[in-house]
Symmetry: C2
């Protein structure tokens, strides 16, 4: 999201239409019409210089990331991806190797998640590379998981370690589609989000949509090895709380369900209100800091 | 399409997946999966300096065009649009007025065609404006019209006058969604395309996909008033044959069906092979010239 959110504003402006079920504030929209089951749609646009540095990482990793961030949005709704569309604007200097490398990266991840690329639009210009991917997905088990169902007392859990993504994970992460489906089959996922803005920011999003609060327990937060390697003035915990593009899932489940889950990490609990960090048993207010897309 | 078609290449590379029905060479892809009826998906990316000149036309007409070209792709398949997603990359200099103007244009046309904007992605950067729109549509009457069903003897018809689109029609055209649905209800549309590359080029596409040829009758081709106003070394007929972005529909129907249609113009017939222009009863080979996207 930029300095003002076009999409949030669109959502406010667009009157509800009977054929479309909006997922306000969610990672993908839920669309349904007469005679068709609800489906998920999501789109993300990535630009050279903002979301990646083409000259440093090469086109293949760009393509992979462009597909991965969209699959992560489908994962956040516990859906299954069905098909993708790819729109690209190629710099004229890149020639065929750029297009081919980009495609290999897009395709590698699309294949891994059984998501054929069914169409798109290709252009070239004097500007920098832009890649726009749209993914369509099935709603699984009759229900898309949104951001809005967490309740005080629920456990807050994550699928993996956080922080330091800029060192490479933001390009090479595996979207948590399988993890989300595994969870969705086994427990009642009350709310879920993929961590793209940063743990604190995205838990704040869950709290806002669910109209509740959360306490994060510092010593429970799994810190990625990369967060320790950042080696700057911020602590590894700060990186885990604030860094964007981890693309792990954060979710709410009942304590009974949470206790059944192995391989998932409980990092806190939902409460009535506020966003709190508990360190050595003391809670302090936590600012919903987080990396902001595009800046 | 650029100098090489990424998407055509993608199509060759992607193995057919059982859950997805590809519309090879069509304006939109047809996607279906177990338990869901087939649906249409299409995406188009428009860039400042290529598809429009933002400084000359303003953001509202840009937004309108970005939505219109996608609705035109749905029209070409005789589908009904259901929902749209919008991805934008805003130049940092444009500020809120740019985003708002863009939205008004997108929304105006989306509203007119009952197609809510259900989500998207907003970014900003130092580059020029890029707008990516994806539209999802219903397959109507159990069948999407493709480019591949024309047969020798079929009439070739168009929905309206052609040529000179650059004088303004390419921005302000109305996508022929309603016309397509009207036709689809009344006759067997054997093949259809929206004229984006130019009449000759797009009829050539129909012929290629249908493995047949076509004869266009010069004196039957409806020439837009704008084509006469071009006032350059090319004749109005040349403009009608070659200019891109008319966004009228060209379609194939049986002579029996064609004779029933009022308000549609017969401009020729499909034949066994070749692309021909008949002038004063004499046929000559017609080059599939046409404006090429992005160059």
């Amino acid at each position: 999201m930029g300095e003002f959110s076009y999409i949030d504003w669109l959502r406010q402006q667009t009157p509800p239409a009977p054929r479309v079920l909006l997922g306000p504030g969610d990672d993908a929209a839920v669309v349904a019409w007469a005679g068709a089951p609800p489906m998920l749609v999501t789109t993300d646009v990535l630009m050279d210089g903002t979301d990646f540095l083409l000259n440093e990482i090469g086109p293949e990793r760009v393509g992979r990331k462009a597909m991965a961030v969209n699959l992560s949005d489908i994962a956040a709704m516990a859906g299954r991806s069905v098909a993708a569309l790819v729109g690209v604007v190629l710099p004229k200097t890149g020639g065929r190797p750029l297009a081919e490398g980009l495609y290999r990266g897009l395709r590698a991840l699309a294949d891994e998640f059984d998501t054929p690329i069914v169409g798109g639009d290709t252009n070239s210009w004097d500007g920098a590379l832009v890649v726009s991917v749209t993914v369509i997905g099935e709603v699984v088990g009759g229900r898309a998981v949104t951001r809005s169902g967490a309740r005080p007392g629920d456990w807050l859990m994550v699928t993996g370690p956080l922080g330091g993504s800029i060192l490479g994970h933001h390009l090479d992460f595996t979207p948590r589609v399988r993890e989300a489906l595994w969870l969705h089959e086994r427990v009642e996922l009350r709310a879920m989000i993929d961590i793209s803005d940063g743990l604190a920011a995205d838990v704040h999003h869950l709290c806002e949509e669910s109209r509740c609060g959360a306490v994060l327990v510092a010593e429970s937060i799994p810190i990625a090895e990369a967060a320790r390697r950042m080696n700057d003035e911020r602590s590894p915990l700060d990186h885990a709380l604030g860094d964007g593009e981890d693309f792990e899932l954060a979710f709410a489940v009942s304590p009974e369900d949470g206790a059944k889950l192995s391989g998932m990490v409980k990092i806190g609990e939902f409460v009535e209100s506020g966003l709190w960090l508990e360190v050595d048993g003391v809670q302090r207010a936590l600012a919903p800091r987080g990396w902001v897309h595009g800046f």
